[in-house]
Structures are given as structure tokens and as C-alpha cells.
Amino acid sequence: MSRYFTEEHEWVDVEGDIGTVGITDYAQGQLGDIVFVELPAEGAKFEKGDDAAVVESVKAASDVYSPVSGEVVEANSAIEEDPALVNSDPEVEGWFFKLRLTDASELDGLMNEAAYQKFVANL
């Protein structure tokens, strides 16, 4: 399994043709206390970069973009019931949705963990 990162602070784990998407620990720290998450419906189709989900902190709403193109096969109801899970465990239990990738070559344009950590360090 490989993990890729976007400059918008999403991560995607890829196993076969299924990608699991979430937001990074850096992103949850910037957002602060998350109080609501709006997830895409199963079957929703996204192009890379489309608005796919919304996270609301006490202060503001932010979009989560789909890091790659694909069709949603599952959304994480656990974070709808307990949005604070995105703060406490953003890169494991706090995942947002899984999608079936339509173009695996899009992953080439994303960062690996080391590149992302370097990117964040320079923000």
C-alpha cells in the first residue's frame, strides 16, 4: 500500500484500484476543532480536484478535494457521528471516503510522505 499527498493537505492510500482519502494531521491542526463533516454519497463520481466533502470547524467551513478521479464506494460514517475523530486520528480512523480510481496515472502528480513533510515545513 502506498500513501500519496496533495498540496491541499489530503492523503490517499492506494490498494489495488481502491483509494482511501482523508485529510492530514497538519490540516486538522490548522482547521481546529471539527464539529461537522459532510461526506459524498456512494456512487458519486469525481474528477481530480473536485469538491468532494466539507469539514466545518467551530469557526469556518472548508472543502475537501478529491485527490484523484474516481467513483465513491464507501463513506466513513464514524466521522459523521463523531467529527472530533478527524482531529484525534486524522490519518487512520478519521478517513473520509474510498473511491475506485479511474486513472491511476494521476498518482504520479502527487507527493510522497517525505515530499509532503518538506512541503509543510516550508509553509
Binding site: 481546529g32 476543532d33 464539529v35 461537522f36 459532510e38 466539507v54 466545518e56 470547524s57 467551530v58 469557526k59 469556518a60 467551513a61 467529527p83
Partner: protein, 381 residues
């Protein structure tokens, strides 16, 4: 993108974000800083939720030095101020503080403010984002005999919460004798302090005006006490929203009148009858007939917040918009203030709010959303 070519002289680079007296102090205490009203301000320290709940349970220290502190002096000051404020200035006793507003000719709110009589002047605290416009308006409206002093060498702190009185009285004995909306001069290690028992959270608490050089040591002395933590602007906003207190530029602007804003309590009977203040014609009409659009509190079903700008509906009819909205940490639920048509601003009215194409159910609710805990004279809360 690179910043390296952005080395223009100040007047060509446009407005510059300024540092306030506690800038370094905030950074040393782990604040995340943002640009607000032309200043670098702390938005949060450990997190909005924790800071909010801390203030409701203990004592939170807020830096509000961006706000405008103005001292007014001169012959005929009371009469002159009653032209620009719909308040009872001639009846204002030394050490008494009142909430008031600057109104334009149409009764629209130019700013909301606190006004206090001191022994040597009348002291006003106005909003940071509007302070220069307020000064220009006051200079224009007041006679030449009146002198305005923008006290920009002063910082302003607020200590808010049920334990604020215990903490502050340890440093400044005597403050515990003040009641809500009273103020007096004190001193701390030779520094003059002007302290009022007031604030913007709905809790008991104090606002402390002091010279810039005293601000950091005083803040440090407060935060050395177990009850006190520094609190950012984020929690200040969620606290004031729960307390039902309007925020200028969001819930109030020149399109809103005191009656529509639900702030008619700030206009005493004598001023309503006698008038003689700018904007009186409209205010007088609305006091008699009501305002078409009013500020209302909304409790929102579920967990999804509705933000400023979202449209509000009664059935299919668009009746207004959200002016402030967010998640209320003390309630664990989303709340909002809205400007809506008066016919629907009835407690218990079932409305809906459009957020990203979906409708959220909402109910018109009395404000404050969370009860005030002011230390009022006579013991009533």
C-alpha cells in the same frame, strides 16, 4: 510564488499590518496569529473549543488592543455628545458606563461602543475596524471646542469568566467592589489602570485599559495564576455569539437600525421623547411602528453550522439571511443570528436555512443562547 520582490516602500506597498503591544507576548505563548482589522492578532492558542469552555468555567484573558480608545474633553461636551449618541450623557455619573451607538442620518448604525464618564474626560471604546471612520465622523459632527484623543499608546485587555474577579482582585484589590457597567481608576506597580466591570462574553469580567509598556507584564502576572489562560479571537467570537451580543460589520452595519438590531434598550426614555440625536426621525418611527427587518436568534437542528450569508426561509419564502453563525461549544449545537422579516421573528417560529443546496431546520430562539452571568448591582442576574 516569491516574496523577494515585495520590497516596496510602505506608501507603495499599501496598508501595512501593524503589531500591537502584546504581539511578541502572544507569539511566546503559542498563539496562532492572523491579520484582523489591520493588526496581527491571536486567533487561538490551544484551540477554540478548549479556550471557550475554559472562559465559561474559569477566567480567560483577551487582548483587544485593536479597539479604539478615545478620550473626549471640552466645554459643552455632554450636550455635544447627545447629538451623536442616543444615550443619556448628561445623566451619566462618574464611573458609570453605558452601551451606545453612533448613528447616521438615516438611523443606520455606524458603530456600537461603550461610553464612560471619568473625572477628566469621557472615555469611549469603539470597534477596531471602524475607529478611524468614527474619529472622522465625530470630528465632523462635534463642535471645535471638543478635543478627541485617540489613545493609541494604550492597550486594552479583557479578563472574563466566573473566576475573573478572584484573579484580578489578587493583583488589583478593590476591583471586586465594582458592579456590572461600573468603572474606576486603579494602579498596579505605579501603572495607571482604568478598569470597568464589563465584557463581550456574557460572563462576569473586566476590561482593563493600560499603557502599552505595562501590558506585557500585567498579562504575564494574570496568566501566572491558575485560573487564567490567554484566549484568542476565535473563542471571543463563539462566546459573544452564545451571549447573543452582536458583532459590528456582521450583525450590525449602516443598513441596520437600533430597533431592528434589538438594541432599543440602549436608548433611554428621555432621548426617545426629546430626540435631538442624529438619526432620531427613523428611530422614533420604528420605536412606534417596529422595524421591518429584525435581528433574531436561531437554534439549528442537527450538527451542521450555518454561516454568515446563508439565506433563511419560511416555507418557500426567502425572509432574510444569517449574519453570524457557528457552533456553540457550551451548547454542543449550531446557533446563528439572522436578519429576518419581522413577521417571522416570533419565538418558536419554524424556519429553514439553505446551506450548500440543502435546507437545515431552525427555530427562532430567545437570546442570549447561554444565560448571562453579570455581577449586577442589587444582586439580580
Amino acid at each position: 510564488m516569491s516574496d523577494s520582490d515585495n520590497l516596496l516602500p510602505e506608501d507603495e506597498a499599501g496598508p501595512v499590518t501593524e503589531a500591537l503591544p502584546l504581539d511578541a507576548w502572544h507569539r511566546a505563548h503559542g498563539a496562532r496569529m492572523v491579520e484582523f482589522a489591520g493588526y496581527h492578532m491571536p486567533i487561538q492558542y490551544e484551540g477554540i473549543m478548549a479556550e471557550h469552555l475554559w472562559t465559561r468555567a474559569h477566567a480567560g484573558l483577551f487582548d483587544v488592543s485593536h479597539m479604539g480608545q478615545i478620550g473626549l474633553t471640552g466645554d459643552g461636551l455632554d450636550v455635544a455628545l447627545e447629538l451623536v449618541l442616543p444615550a443619556d450623557i448628561s445623566g451619566l455619573k462618574p464611573g458609570q458606563q453605558r452601551y451606545s451607538m453612533l448613528l447616521d442620518d438615516e438611523g443606520g448604525i455606524l458603530d456600537d461602543l461603550m461610553v464612560t464618564r471619568r473625572s477628566d474626560d469621557i472615555y469611549m471604546v469603539v470597534n477596531g475596524a471602524t475607529k478611524y471612520d468614527d474619529l472622522a465622523w465625530l470630528l465632523d459632527q462635534l463642535p471645535d471646542d471638543i478635543t478627541l484623543n485617540l489613545m493609541d499608546e494604550h492597550a486594552l485587555l479583557a479578563l472574563q469568566g466566573p473566576q475573573a474577579v478572584d484573579a484580578l482582585a489578587r493583583l488589583v484589590p478593590g476591583v471586586e467592589a465594582l458592579f456590572f457597567m461600573q468603572a474606576a481608576g486603579f494602579s498596579w506597580y505605579g501603572h495607571d489602570l482604568w478598569i470597568s466591570r464589563s465584557g463581550y462574553t456574557g460572563e462576569d469580567g473586566f476590561e482593563i485599559s493600560l499603557t502599552a509598556d505595562a501590558a506585557a507584564p500585567f498579562a504575564e502576572a494574570l496568566c501566572a495564576m491558575a485560573e487564567v489562560k490567554p484566549i484568542g479571537l476565535g473563542a471571543r467570537d463563539s462566546l459573544r455569539l452564545e451571549a447573543g451580543l452582536p458583532l459590528y460589520g456582521h450583525d450590525l452595519d449602516t443598513g441596520v437600525t437600533p430597533v431592528g438590531a434589538g438594541l432599543a434598550f440602549a436608548i433611554p426614555k428621555r432621548r426617545r421623547i426629546e430626540g435631538g440625536f442624529i438619526g432620531h426621525a427613523r428611530v422614533s418611527r420604528e420605536l412606534a411602528e417596529g422595524a421591518q427587518t429584525v435581528r433574531a436568534g436561531l437554534a439549528i437542528e442537527g450538527r451542521q453550522p450555518a454561516r454568515e450569508g446563508a439565506r433563511v426561509f419560511a416555507g418557500n419564502a426567502d425572509i432574510g439571511h444569517i449574519t453570524s453563525g457557528g457552533f456553540a461549544p457550551s451548547l454542543g449545537a449550531p446557533i446563528a443570528m439572522a436578519h429576518i422579516d419581522c413577521s417571522h421573528a416570533v419565538i418558536g417560529s419554524k424556519l429553514s436555512i439553505e446551506v450548500r443546496g440543502k435546507r437545515l431546520d431552525a427555530t427562532v430562539t430567545p437570546m442570549p443562547f447561554v444565560p448571562h452571568h453579570y455581577h449586577r448591582q442589587g444582586g439580580k442576574k
